[in-house]
């Protein structure tokens, strides 16, 4: 049997806007999930207009990728207006699936847009085979498992359900079961289950006993989770027969999506080609785009000490320095949009979807007017560099070594 005849696992990436969707697909995603302006759980992502969704669908299908639209808010009555028309529109533009939590939206989609596949959102926290079977009977095609399912459980679930299974392999994790936390509603009056989560689980707390004695005398109490990075799990999940591997993060940057998707794409392709991968190298590559510590989540069972964060820490990623706007083959000048500081003497790394990364030591920096600069320090400034190799529009540039 040829490798292309084997049904391969799907790599599913997030996209907060059309550019990110194109990046995700160009860098190797088999499917992308996006949110429209209604019914979607990331109120602060740019989200897609109806026209954007149509364009996204055309782009995805042209590249033999699938498009899933998130409709996974927990709706109040006032949110349900226009549901039927929206579902029918998604079906008409040939969206492949919707991701849903509300029982009413599931039932309505089945009735008015039967060609749309239904994927049950992780907001409903399904962590056993019988829950998957319940949703299968209710008309779902796929269940996105709760992140709390262990590898052993996932294997057993797969054996005992015919539902297609999607498993998170990368990105942010709720500290609670998804959908079961409304801290944000009660602390800042922002509705977590309608896209307003304020990430209250990442804040600092004091812990008291029932006699009002403060128990955390050295530093604050924290309950936040490390992000998930499941590079080691991918081959196991393929062996189990999971259908889709999901990357979290519709709010993440193009650079993050490119880095993470490309890394997992390379890993998955090497597994199917029976080639060994240097997992540490892949993890190092992914970490270049990460801004939080990572762990294995629940794959090995209940959450252990090193799956939690014990300080309020975000490490801003400074490695991403720019994006290629154009390259002139005759003058060998690359024009780029600066995103983070770099200077003469720094080694930059250019990377694109289907090519090896290339290194370049910065000897001269010019701005758009042709003035020489010692540093590129203004975000979004147009910068020109002379480099000896070809790079494509849209390629990303980062620091090869952190100073």
């Amino acid at each position: 049997m040829l490798i292309q005849d084997i049904k391969q696992i799907e790599l599913l990436a997030p996209a907060g806007d059309l550019n990110k969707l194109k990046v995700a697909i160009n860098y190797g995603a088999n499917a992308v999930y996006v949110g429209g302006y209604k019914f979607s759980l990331r109120a602060r992502a740019n989200n897609f207009t109806l026209e954007d969704l149509k364009e996204a669908c055309l782009f995805a299908h042209h590249h033999r990728a699938k498009l899933y639209v998130t409709m996974n808010i927990i709706p109040h009555d006032s949110d349900l207006e226009g549901l039927v028309e929206y579902l029918q529109y998604l079906e008409s533009i040939k969206v492949d699936a919707i991701i849903v939590s509300s029982m009413y939206i599931i039932a309505t989609a089945r009735e008015v847009a039967p060609k749309l596949e239904i994927h049950i959102s992780t907001q409903t926290s399904n962590i056993n085979s019988e829950a998957c079977n319940a949703f299968l009977k209710l008309g779902a095609n796929r269940v996105v498992l709760g992140r709390e399912a262990s590898l052993v459980d996932i294997k057993s679930i797969k054996k005992n359900t015919k539902a297609s299974l999607e498993v998170f392999i990368h990105g942010g994790m709720c500290s609670s079961y998804s959908g079961r936390c409304v801290l944000s509603n009660h602390m800042v009056n922002r509705d977590a289950n309608r896209g307003g989560c304020a990430h209250s689980c990442r804040w600092s707390y004091d812990l008291y006993d029932d006699e009002n004695n403060k128990l955390n005398n050295e530093g604050f109490f924290h309950m936040a989770s490390k992000d998930l990075m499941a590079v080691e799990m991918v081959s196991k999940l393929i062996d189990i027969g999971v259908d889709s591997l999901k990357i979290e993060g519709r709010m993440k940057s193009e650079y993050y999506i490119a880095t993470v998707v490309k890394s997992y794409r390379i890993l998955i392709d090497r597994i199917y080609n029976n080639k060994k991968s240097n997992l540490e190298e892949i993890k190092r590559e992914i970490k270049k785009a990460e801004n939080r510590e990572t762990g294995y989540g629940f794959f090995y069972g209940h959450m252990s000490l090193n799956g939690q964060l014990y300080a309020s820490c975000e490490i801003p990623s400074k490695e991403f320095v720019g994006k290629v706007l154009k390259y002139n083959l005759f003058t060998k000048i690359v024009t780029l949009e600066q995103r983070n500081y770099f200077k003469i003497g720094d080694t930059l790394e250019f990377f694109g979807p289907k090519r090896k990364n290339k290194l370049f030591c910065v000897k001269e920096i010019k701005n758009d007017k042709g003035d020489c600069l010692a540093t590129a320090c203004h975000p979004q400034e147009i910068i020109k560099l002379k480099i000896p190799f070809y790079v494509k529009r849209g390629n990303f540039i980062r620091l090869a070594k952190i100073r």
């Binding site: 109120a43 509300s102 319940a134 399912a149 262990s150 409304v182 509705d191 812990l207 128990l215």
Partner: protein, 280 residues
Amino acid sequence: MKLIAELQSLDNLNDYQDIDYLLIPTSFSLASSHAPLTSPEIAKVMQWTTINKTKAVIKVDQLIENKYLNSFFRYLDKYAYYDCLFLYSDFAVFNYFDNKGMLNKLMYNAPTLVCNTKDCEFYNKRGIKVILSNELSIEEITECAKEKNVIVQSYGYFPIYYSQREILSLYNKNVSGDTDYKNKLYYLKEEKREEMYPVFEKENYTVIFSKAKILIYKDLEKIKPEYIFINSNFLKPDNFKMILNLYVDGIKNGFKNDDKIKMIDDNYESSLLYSKSNIL
């Protein structure tokens, strides 16, 4: 209007004589500060409910990890054909009773997930009673309660965070402490806020509760739900008995004045009943 409340302990069973549905805590119960009842104790309570014409509701509303599924189903097998209901939140329970054609024995309790009339209708059509979210306004609750089989929590603390992580024990390990945090009540206070949130950890899960007890009394005249639910978690038995009696009186004579309830325990809140939550 019918009244639902959770049994605090066998010692105060007789306080529940006037209620309609009695929740029985088990080892599969979520967010229960009460000790789970053993099989003989459940049998005893079932006998009592039969005599008192009260319906027993076995509380099995934790999310069930796949590895525990078989033992959980064996547990359900013991009681499935008894004259009782089951309070659940995992859809494995839905599937179990659906396969037996007995969905009408269910009460759905994933309150953060039920926020509109149409979802209520989904459960009602199948004969399932459903507890509404506490993150709704009075107007929204009133609309939802027009559906049959809708349950409105009218008093008590309620969960606002449910995690499989043992967040207190993990913290304890991290600071190399020797405190056993399980099955005891603690409080969390965000560094810039004054409110104290009860937090309770059991084996394999943690629940954070609302900072105060929700109180809906006079508004019940307007909402007119088919069922009301009093959450007995962390309430002193004497106070709980008085509160229960005031709701029983309200059902009989109208919910006119909540001053007496406020006097029994002044740690109550209107939650989000009178404010509109923001999305951003």
